[in-house]
Amino acid sequence: MEIFTEIFGFFFQYLDGVAFLILAAIGLAIIFGMMGVINMAHGELMMIGAYVTAFSMYAGIPWPIAIVLAGIGAGIAGMILERLIIRHFYKQLLSSLVVTWGISMIVSQLFLVIFGPTMESLPTPFSEIKILVGGDVGFSVVGPEGFAALKAATGRLPEGVESFGIYRLVMFAIAALLIAGIWALMRFTEYGTRARATMDNPAMANALGINTARIYALTFGVGSALAGIAGGIFALTSAITPFFGAAYTAKAFIVVVVGGGAGVVNGLVASVASLGGVQTIFSNMFSVYIGFVGMIAAAFLILLLMPTGISGYLENLRDRRK
């Protein structure tokens, strides 16, 4: 039974890591993949989402709706930023990098001045439901009564039993849904077709009557909204501060860069699956810090072998086969 516990724990951690990376990176992947802009203010858009979620939930709104509101709020903020500032920096990769970094600094400091250093933390949904694995229990999902009953004898869980929170699995489900949603949005909708045409060849798309400026603004809005949703989801499990986003930004960048810009969805999935694996293994064997270092080393190796990211490499392969 012990080996089963270990495997389950490892698998759980892997899903958790993958969900984390997908959520942190998905908005950035859209904006980088579709528009070629590296948005250093990504973490701050997540932070805006977290604050919207927090204020909505203080007002008594249930968490799923609060997270949707977070997406809407961050999406609007992103579109405003795009119209005011970022649209002047298309095709200037390094300048867009620097200017969005400046924006991130302003936004986080403004939130610090307005709302103070911390917010009241939010309750994690489903926190009373636990998955128990190992020992005499085997495998079961218990509510608060069952959990209390198990602990009643000794005050803690019986020998060999590990408990896992279910919200992590919810996060994974949401991440998978978002990925599927983005894929469908790009594949089947009018907007998706126009957006792909614009990214492929803006001048030609424009000549065919597509309003490319609107497509850019919308795409930036979609990316920002995804960042906001992710921020809302993370807000339910961690402390909310004005510098909340900084913790996610570095990892999100690595994931996106490894995924590459050629195919947003498949690049993101491949990159997250591999980097998440490396991170889980190294964190388990050594420490969280080594896990992060291992992830960066893996990213560097992948970039050495595939300079355009995993999706660029796959596209090259496909082209060569034709």
Binding site: I38, I85, H88, F89, L93, L94, S95, L97, V98, V99, W101, G102, I103, M105, I106, Q109, L110, L112, V113, A246, A250, F253, I254, V257, Y289, F292, V293, I296, F300, L303, L304, P307
Partner: protein, 368 residues
């Protein structure tokens, strides 16, 4: 055009890659330098405040030659600054008692970041990593160093000789990090970082670095840097190895940043993991972007004036607004004068003074 001998070498100071040429500029330069030397005694500048600005000048120069001239943006330039600072401190602590000077500390503080840059740069440039990836990777590297230094609190594991890395408290023991000191035996000159003597020392070094870099940038190597920035493929077609040029300028920039870090540790007799942090990194980028990345003079002036403004903002009234103002200045300048404030002013002055005068900016015509 080319002259040989001593005039040829001095002529490099005046070349087209750096803003400002002709006698009007050089008279202005001399006046500025004289005023700078008179600052602490006659103009009421407080050395304990302005010494820091000079160090910013080195960092700005380092990012300017890398990003402005060669087109390689590094968002983690303070990684080299921090390494220089730590190595200077470690060597200084260990050798101060026996030698009484800090020659080797300075040597190490410059060479260690250069060697680090050579390794990292070789991996990045030989792999022909794209510019954005290099920018992000350097930032991540700097943050990794910060995280690593933060967890070095255990003195049993993390100490080098007498120096204890000390985690978030920074290098210990703080009282034993020496000042910058030069000389042998009895005749050692010691520069207290809070006093005017350090100001004269750092100012002289900054002016020498500035003039040296002007000569480098106006030499054929400087032309190559700009060629790599403007069109790496064409430079490659001319038979130059772009990767080696990038690696070389990366190492030079790291050496200057390392010198800045060494000076900073000597100035305040301390160094902690915060030197590697995000805010330190973003500040360097702001100085250079706002001052004018494509010109050495503009970048240094940008650093010094923005540091001055930042100090004024943090000490007068509302310090929490200081970073907002800095960010707003960055975004505003990027929108209105993307080449930077001092390059903008320089080009206006050139129009004012005409061809023969103050600021000739003919870089674009002379390239390739």
């Amino acid at each position: 055009m080319k002259r040989s001998g001593i005039f040829g070498i001095l002529g490099l100071l005046n070349g087209p890659q750096t803003m400002g040429r002709g006698w009007v500029f050089w008279i202005g330069f001399v006046v500025f330098v004289v005023l700078a030397y008179l600052g602490p005694t006659h103009l009421g500048l407080k050395p304990y405040k302005i010494n820091e600005f000079l160090i910013s000048g080195f960092l700005a120069a380092s990012l300017s030659i890398l990003w402005g001239y060669c087109g390689i943006l590094s968002l983690g330039q303070v990684a080299f600054f921090g390494i220089g600072g730590y190595v200077w401190g470690v060597i200084g602590i260990n050798l101060w008692d026996s030698t009484g000077n800090t020659h080797l500390a300075f040597l190490g503080g410059i060479l260690a970041p250069t060697a680090f840059a050579a390794i990292v740069g070789a991996a990045m440039f030989l792999a022909r990593l794209k510019g954005v990836y290099i920018a992000i990777l350097m930032l991540v590297l700097s943050l990794l160093l910060e995280t690593f230094m933060l967890q070095t609190a255990d003195p049993e594991v993390y100490s080098i000789g007498k120096a204890v890395l000390g985690g978030s408290n920074g290098l210990r023991p703080a009282s034993d990090i020496p000042n910058a000191a030069f000389g042998w035996g009895e005749s050692v000159v010691d520069f207290n970082g809070r006093r005017a003597e350090f100001y004269y020392f750092a100012l002289t070094l900054l002016i020498l670095t500035y003039l040296g870099l002007r000569m480098l940038l106006n030499s054929s190597f400087g032309y190559l840097l700009v060629a790599v920035r403007e069109d790496p493929d064409r430079t490659e077609t001319f038979g130059y190895d772009v990767r080696l040029i990038q690696l070389a300028v990366f190492c030079i920039a790291a050496a200057i940043a390392g010198l800045a870090g060494s000076l900073d540790t000597a100035r305040i007799n301390r160094v902690d993991p915060e030197v590697f942090g995000v805010s330190a990194n973003i500040m360097v980028v702001i100085w250079v972007a706002v001052g004018g990345r494509k010109d050495l003079t503009a970048a240094i002036l940008g650093a010094i004036s923005l540091e001055w403004l930042f100090l004024w903002l943090t000490t007068s009234g509302n310090p929490e607004y200081a970073t907002i103002v800095m960010g707003a200045i960055l975004v505003g300048v990027m929108l209105i004068a993307p080449e930077g404030i001092f390059v903008f002013i320089g080009e206006r002055l050139r129009v004012l003074f005409g061809k023969s005068g103050l600021f000739s900016v003919e870089r674009k015509d002379s390239v390739i």
